[in-house]
Symmetry: C2
Subunit: 168 residues, 2 copies
């Protein structure tokens, strides 16, 4: 199989998000077992001005669905950012994985030079598809998934790097 | 430009490691300013059984140089894991970036199906080049770079996600 814009996006994000969902389920079980209010973990931050766990998960999914939608040229589905439990967060992640996996390679492949415009408070930023994927979305998805992992690891949830990387 | 095994490895890792070096320099300056013994930051962990900052940086570089060497079919350079200061860690990262950037696209492209064997205590694991890059090395590089960032962010170093993602 040759590397392609599809191969470097849909299966990569889906894999990461599936691993994230499994980590969130372990965190939920840990909270139940230790009688920790789940909201303590859901609102935990590694620094006072960093996003809490819930927001890390929301942004990871937003990055993935935004990327695939923009490359394919379809509207980005909006998810209400109202998750207040591990179950709701896992459902968001699983909904995003199902959305990603609904795309066919032909919708994403060949978008290396496609213009992608991101609206920002400081003004629009225009990327080409390839650097948008490799230098903006991939690092963002990994950043937020890793930070979610790090928050839970810091809080004692019994997870290891294998949970993050997934089965080989 | 078309996506390729080279494009998804060398420039991606080099960019991440350059951003990491810049973050480490900010951490060094922060420690000096606040009169924090740099070894406190270098040995800081987010959990007692997680790697400290220094090891996160070492593994990030090991993953990147191992990947590019294996795909190109050359011996992997060994770096002594003896860094004991921010300056030495930055030098390691910069040495790795220079090594990565010495490879030409022709050495890496077309390695999607190449067999890559990783020696592990539990037995050898064989990957094809494409999943090795996308499902093993990329997540590992991002995992360790993000964790290094998260350790420093947790310790109050004035950095933001922009330092991690880099200039657009």
């Amino acid at each position: 199989m040759q590397i392609s814009m599809y191969r470097a996006s849909v299966p990569v994000f889906a894999r990461n998000l599936r691993n994230l969902a499994a980590i969130l389920k372990k965190a939920e079980a840990y909270a139940a077992e230790r009688k920790i209010d789940p909201s303590v973990l859901l609102n935990y931050r590694l620094a006072p001005d960093m996003f809490p766990l819930t927001r890390q998960v929301q942004v990871a999914t937003d990055m993935a669905k935004g990327c695939v939608s923009r490359l394919a040229g379809v509207d980005i589905p909006t998810y209400d950012d109202k998750e207040a439990s591990f179950g709701e967060l896992v459902a968001r992640v699983e909904r995003c994985v199902a959305y990603l996996e609904g795309f066919k390679p032909g919708q994403i492949d060949g978008t290396e030079d496609k213009s992608v415009v991101l609206k920002r408070p400081t003004g629009d930023v225009t990327y080409h598809g390839l650097p948008y994927l490799l230098e903006y979305v991939q690092p963002n998805v990994y950043f937020h998934c890793t930070t979610a992992y790090a928050i839970l690891r810091h809080c004692g949830v019994p997870i290891g790097k294998k949970d993050f990387i997934g089965a080989t």
